[in-house]
Subunit: 196 residues, 2 copies
DNA sequence: TTTCGTTAGTGGTCCGACCATTATTCGGAC
DNA sequence: GTCCGAATAATGGTCGGACCACTAACGAAA
């Protein structure tokens, strides 16, 4: 027996849409054929075509405008990450696990970030104490220029925030910043670790 | 005017399915109500329910068995991920981000893992070359004992796997293992980094 | 030329029908 | 009583059509 030969219609449709995009070299913002056209050209019911389209819409790959059509869209991985997280975090409720991952991400950030590229580096100074942490790290993650990483951290941050996080003094972040600025990464990481 | 109040039906359905899972504390493998039941209970047409289900099926969050029902699914990186990735990885940017995050996670794993706790440490020896990487890292991530971290890596792994990943020789993983075993973490990390 | 209804095309939603597959049920053969 | 196989019921898979809501383009009137 062939192992997997029987793909569902909506999956075939997806493949063909993918090919259509390829062949016609569609760019972001370009319009796809209407649901009815696709339905006819691909020999599939409109409802099946819709199942395919809704799936990749949810992912953020396309955008549908009522009365206008379906358009290709610049894919941003963080859309799907958000969606996935609500399911992935389903059973990962352990505060410990969340904090571990969050710590790990921040550590990685401290290692990688180019401090020169951090905008609003001192935004956190003028912010409420409980928001300092986010205000400090957010621009740093943005400077890393990896939206996926940023989104993951943001989500973990959001979930763990509801738990009590130790609030650090301004001096803590000042020290952290200064370490990185002088490229004393290991010192920064050590300090960061001591706060968890 | 409210900015975005008008969610589509399938999106509402999605939310409610999520709540259903939450409230009833469904675990992986558990069965969801049938499409017809959901349709009735949520006051939505069956086709709308299907749009929602197909979307999260494509994501790999549920599994449908013809004649049986719809089941919550332990994430497995085969199936539709390949299809999905052909869409998602259209842009070079996305590939880079995925690989960066994957690299980062693995690096962290190499730093943290207690090699004594790794079960099936040499499973990867007897596996197809293209599966070596996963077979090597999976037990290590499991040994870290952080469900969240594991799931994140698994997802990223699944996507990036479908694209060209450099296949390493057995000696590469042997070396990696031996470094960690002798607690020469920095050597392991350096080796790992050289492969990306 | 401008304005404003009309109209055609599009996505959004619903309904009902039928098929394919699976698990269950039940009755007869042993 | 046990076992087996044929109905049966429940489920997902697919189709086609109907109608609504929204948008843009067109064309006639001012």
């Amino acid at each position: 027996m062939t192992n997997q030969a029987k793909l569902k219609v909506y999956q075939e449709v997806l493949t063909q849409i993918r090919e259509f995009i390829e062949v016609n070299e569609l760019q972001d913002g370009d319009r796809l054929p209407s649901e009815r056209e696709l339905s006819e050209q691909l020999n599939a019911a409109r409802s099946s075509v819709r199942e395919a389209l809704r799936a990749i819409e949810l992912l953020g790959l396309i955008e549908t405008k009522h009365g206008e059509g379906t358009f290709l869209r610049t894919y941003r991985p963080y859309h799907s990450v958000e969606l996935l997280s609500t399911f992935v975090l389903r059973e990962v409720r352990t505060k410990e696990e969340l904090l571990d991952v969050k710590f790990m991400l921040e550590k990685q950030c401290l290692e990688q970030v180019n401090i020169e590229e951090v905008a609003d580096a001192f935004q956190w100074r003028s912010v409420k104490p409980e928001e300092r942490h986010t205000a400090f790290f957010l621009p740093m993650f943005e400077a890393i220029n990896n939206q996926l990483l940023l989104k993951i951290w943001h989500l973990v941050e959001g979930f763990s925030n509801t738990q009590l996080v130790a609030i650090q003094e301004k001096t803590y972040y000042e020290q952290l910043y200064s370490y990185i600025h002088n490229d004393e990464r290991d010192q920064a990481i050590k300090l960061h670790a001591s706060s968890y």
